[in-house]
């Protein structure tokens, strides 16, 4: 047999799905069966290379795939049925699109000859998901199925990563066709990776002259892979410039690093935001000038020259005009940038940068995250500080839900490596964290995986307790229970005259009993004195745990840049908030 014949094989569409995943190195998929995917489930049953994790809701399958992807750097895969299975996946797809997470979602579809007839569980899946995927395909011929799946992996992981979807009608799964192996057809989709040498040279010159430089880094560094984080650390060490990061970029530069200013933005650190406001050279590396970062556009870092390294041309000049645009992949550009800067002698204005650091040290002295734990009620900041101390030494991965607890986690937990922090930034999806933690734990069976949650968010996907227990995934659900939709309540306090319209959690379950009902362990703690012991009990328990941490109910998350304000108009504590937000700020939520 010639090599070619050995590589192209006849098989059914359903077999092709499994074979393609195998060829792509996939070992775990998250899914939920239904009529339109039964042939694929039948193939999954008859093999053991790929582990299928049965979630309890399709949204959770997608978030679990996201968690798997973000924590490994490899694409995550989900498999769901047609109609309601596909529509349940939409939130996860949108979440992955906003946060640039590479995932592949396979959906079943009614047979090709029934498409358009309002058949049972028919939905226009490619139509519905067109705006919330990087790309999607409806495959109508079995012969094209495997090549499409391989192309889908390529598209999801190349350039700016994102979610893709393949809709597979049931007759295509049953029919026989020819399998096309991975890599046998070069893709037309080839985003440019290397940055323009002239633009890089311009940035080198700006770095040599800068008196008040700052690196503003983001999720793009994580997307680019481990080499990007390494190069970033080299660049920061070599230049001595300060560095801040968005929520999405935490861990690319270590929180324990000397030049670390902490997270920037709406709930970022005072020194980070002040440095952004006052700098004369801003070097944006893989961040997208999100409105949580810029605040008031016309007051955003008014005196700086701005450089922007990004792989997506539409991110450049979208929100903020930059002086030095560099289109390319972070790792490729940083490598060339370091080489070019070193070749010219590695010059910086050391005296000026030293003075800049003096200024930054003054800002730091404000100690904007300072808080005091006094009294009998646990403050959420205290709970996270203790969690940080007690888990730091572990091989640790942190997920979050969305709300105040998410911001406190970003502020009080330190990340020293990339891919250790999974959070829904762009879409802000409550219900993301728990299923994401399941995906992370599957990828890292021996690691300590903690989901820092608010009780309201956590309830949105609590059915996944079944998944955690079934697969013996020791995920720790650390719920900061304020019995409030805390972030909403905070905005209502600050913007809507303390009218707390529907922002509390009524009729909450007993989380300890809930854990026990699922066959897991529940721990409740309301006393600061016993918190450490309770956390230790959670860590050492070998199975999944729901930790119900009862915290202060009306705590606000500070620092905060009120909407519509500039970076240097940051609020540091409750005392300074009265009347600080004009009515205009209320529009930008």
């Amino acid at each position: 047999m010639t090599r070619k014949m050995a590589e192209t094989r006849e098989m059914t569409g359903a077999q092709m799905v499994v074979q393609s995943l195998r060829d792509q190195g996939v070992t775990t998929i998250f899914g939920y069966p239904g009529g339109a995917v039964l042939p694929i489930y039948d193939e999954i049953f008859q093999q053991s290379d790929i582990q299928h994790i049965l979630v309890r809701h399709e949204q959770a399958a997608v978030h679990a795939a996201e968690g798997y992807a973000r924590s490994t750097g490899r694409p995550g895969v989900a498999l769901v049925t047609s109609g309601p299975g596909a529509t349940n996946a939409v939130t996860g797809l949108t979440d992955a699109l906003m946060d640039s997470i590479p995932i592949i979602v396979l959906t079943g579809q009614v047979p090709t000859f029934m498409i358009g007839s309002d058949a049972f569980q028919e939905a226009d899946t490619v139509g519905i998901t067109r705006p919330c995927t990087k790309h999607n395909w409806l495959v109508k011929e079995t012969d094209k199925l495997s090549a499409t799946i391989h192309e889908a992996f390529h598209v999801a992981t190349s350039g700016r990563p994102g979610p893709v979807l393949i809709d597979i009608p049931k007759d295509v799964q049953f029919a026989t066709g020819t399998y096309t192996p991975k890599g046998s057809r070069p893709s037309l989709y080839q985003p440019r990776l290397k940055g323009d040498a002239e633009a890089i040279a311009a940035l080198v010159k700006a770095m040599e002259k800068a008196k008040k430089p700052v690196f503003y880094t983001g999720g793009g560094v994580i997307n680019s892979g481990p080499a990007a984080s390494r190069l970033l650390r080299d660049l920061v060490a070599a230049t001595g410039f300060p560095i801040t990061s968005t929520l999405m970029g935490l861990g690319a530069y270590p929180a324990s690093g000397e030049n670390w200013l902490g997270m920037l933005g709406m709930h970022g650190l005072y020194e980070a935001n002040m440095a952004m406001h006052d700098c004369d050279l801003m070097i944006n590396i893989g961040a997208r000038f999100d409105d949580r970062i810029t605040g008031r556009i016309d007051a955003f870092s008014p005196r700086s020259k701005k450089a922007h390294i990004d792989i997506d041309a539409s991110s450049i000049n979208k929100v903020i005009r930059v002086d030095i645009p560099i289109l390319g992949d972070v790792a490729h550009v940083l490598e060339d940038l370091l080489a070019a800067w070193t070749a010219r002698g590695g010059v910086t204005d050391r005296e000026a940068v030293a003075r800049w650091w003096d200024q930054i040290r003054d800002w730091r002295a404000i100690d904007c995250l300072r808080f005091e734990q006094s009294g009998p009620v646990i403050r959420p900041q205290y709970a996270l500080s203790r969690l940080e101390v007690l888990t730091k030494a572990h091989d640790r991965y942190i997920c979050t839900e969305v709300g105040q607890h998410q911001m406190w986690a970003a502020q009080y937990l330190g990340f020293d490596a990339p891919n250790r922090w999974m959070t829904s930034g762009g879409l802000g999806t409550m219900g993301y964290g728990f299923p994401a933690s399941i995906g992370v734990q599957l990828a890292h069976p021996d690691a300590l995986v903690i989901n820092v949650a608010g009780e309201a968010s956590w309830l949105m996907n609590m059915q996944e307790m079944g998944t955690a227990v079934q697969y013996r995934l020791p995920v720790k659900q650390f719920i900061l229970n304020n019995e409030r939709l805390g972030m909403v309540r905070q905005w209502q306090e600050l913007l809507h005259g303390e009218r707390y319209s529907h922002s509390w959690s009524e009729s909450l379950p007993d989380f300890v009993k809930l854990a026990e009902a699922f066959g897991a362990k529940g721990i409740r703690c309301s006393d600061p004195e016993t918190l450490d012991d309770a956390i230790m009990e959670m860590i050492t328990h070998p199975g999944p745990v729901i930790f119900d941490c009862l915290v202060a109910k009306h705590e606000n998350c500070f620092p905060m840049i009120p909407s519509g304000k500039a970076h240097n108009e940051m609020l540091l504590g409750e005392a300074s908030t009265k009347g600080a937000i004009g009515a205009g700020g209320a529009v930008m939520v």
């Binding site: 067109r130 705006p131 790309h135 556009i297 041309a313 539409s314 205009g584 529009v587």
Partner: protein
């Protein structure tokens, strides 16, 4: 929004009006977009314009290379230079889009549109319609004793002008193709 007394068009407060911050005059641009001829590609492009709030003044699309699976769309749009840049960058992200050419920015281009006009009338009006059609080099592609269908090719402005003249003379129906455009000169843009 009105309760908050924010001026219409104000940009300092809303996350959604950001593009106006660099506001300058709106320009009309003709874009040629070479795409892979696959199902849904038109929906992707149109969805981008509607989803992000961009304007489409006209859109044409047809296959231009059958064996190479290539289609070409011509879109006439309007926006500030910043918005036009974003439109081009956003189009460029669509996976089956091979190339985006800004014919307005890249030097002189020829633009043509085809219009069909049904004009019904008798007597002087009918004679006048035929006379004007002749001046505009329009062809008569259908005629009855009471009506003509004229076919006219030219710039959109020329077709607008023709429509204005036909209106008082018994214009009944109009069909226009939208603009097709190519750069001038020997060089191919894709």
């Amino acid at each position: 929004m009105s309760a908050l007394k924010i001026k219409k068009g104000s940009t300092s407060h809303s996350a959604y009006n950001l593009r106006d911050t660099h506001s300058s005059v709106e320009e009309r641009h003709t874009l040629a977009i070479v795409v892979e001829n696959e199902p849904g590609v038109l929906a992707r492009v149109i969805g981008l314009f509607s989803g992000r709030g961009y304007n489409i003044e006209s859109l044409t699309v047809a296959e231009i290379d059958h064996s190479g699976h290539r289609s070409r769309m011509t879109i006439v749009t309007r926006g500030t230079p910043h918005v036009i840049d974003q439109i081009e960058a956003q189009l460029g992200r669509i996976v089956p889009v091979h190339e985006v050419i800004d014919l307005t920015a890249e030097g002189p281009a020829v633009e043509r549109e085809l219009g069909l006009f049904k004009v019904a009338g008798k007597g002087d009006a009918r004679v006048e319609a035929l006379r004007l059609a002749d001046i505009f080099r329009a062809n008569v592609v259908d005629s009855t004793l009471e009506s003509f269908v004229f076919e006219i090719t030219g710039t959109s402005e020329k077709i607008d002008a023709f429509a204005e003249l036909m209106r008082p003379l018994g214009l009944r129906e109009v069909a226009r193709t939208g603009v097709a455009a190519l750069s001038r000169g020997a060089a191919a843009k894709h």
